[in-house]
């Protein structure tokens, strides 16, 4: 997964949101990494949410999100970073926010190659729905 898969800019967009954009040259994960997650907080829902543009690489080509994707950030049950993109129903978990985001990105890449590039007749109905969701969220530049 490319290091630029997710990039965060320093624009503070609201009480619990950070602005994210491709325009910023340097990722600023420290902005969102700052909270120390207490597992006890996990029952209170997402601590913050991000909007990010994703740039991903698949076997078929390069994926670019058609619009910024909302990503919820919350502590995992082990106090690590968990991210979840409701529009995709997919997420990631890891020791750092950046690694969790990359976990999400790699899941999207894998599922694109496995499902979107597959003949729909070889997919279950739920897999077709997920493939359609991915196809409607990302543009593929071959």
């Amino acid at each position: 997964v490319s290091a630029e898969a997710f990039q965060v800019d320093s624009t503070f967009a609201g009480d619990s949101q950070f602005g994210l954009s491709r325009a910023q040259a340097e990722p600023r994960w420290s902005d969102a990494d700052r909270p120390t997650f207490d597992p006890a907080l996990s029952t209170r829902g997402p601590l913050t949410s991000l909007r990010t543009v994703m740039y991903l690489s698949t076997v078929a080509g390069r994926l670019v999100a058609k619009s910024p994707i909302k990503v919820e950030v919350s502590p995992s049950q082990e106090g690590r970073f968990s991210v979840f993109a409701p529009v995709l129903g997919l997420g990631g978990v890891a020791d750092t926010l950046e690694a969790a985001a990359q976990d999400l990105a790699s899941t999207v890449e894998s599922l694109w190659d496995s499902l979107v590039e597959e003949n729909p007749e070889s997919l279950t109905s739920d897999a077709i729905l997920l493939a359609d969701r991915l196809r409607s969220t990302f543009d593929l530049a071959r």
Binding site: V1, V59, S76, Q77, E78, R80, S82, F84, P86, V87, L88, G89, L90, G91, G92, V93, S106, T107, E109, S110, L111, D113, S114, L115, E118, S122, L123, T124, D126, A127, L129, L130, R133
Partner: protein, 98 residues
């Protein structure tokens, strides 16, 4: 629920109808085959990981819309292939608003 060895999880998945997507990645993606078709019921393991942590099981469960305790039953071998298939079949439909 507890952490499980990655080997134990791999063996459990492969014995219950999952297949390994062999594309080179930094992780292993196991996808359940349902009536010969690829499903959206998957489990991801970091390549080279010695164990699968509790929060990874919970995270995988959220993505496939099943309770973590039930996915733990799949990967810890409490559920057989039939119980795994039944878990797949009774999941809520995929949702997600833009």
């Amino acid at each position: 629920m507890r952490a499980l060895s990655a080997r134990e999880v791999r063996d459990a998945l492969l014995s219950k109808g999952f297949f390994l997507d062999k594309r080179p990645r930094d992780h292993e993606m196991y996808i359940l085959s349902v009536d010969g078709k690829k499903s959206d019921f998957f489990f991801k393991i970091s390549r080279g990981a010695a164990e699968v942590r509790k929060d990874e099981i919970a995270h995988n469960a959220r993505q496939i819309r099943v309770p973590p305790s039930e996915l733990f039953s799949v990967v810890s071998c409490s559920y057989d292939a039939q119980a795994t298939r039944e878990l797949h079949d009774r999941r809520p439909p995929r949702s997600g608003a833009r």
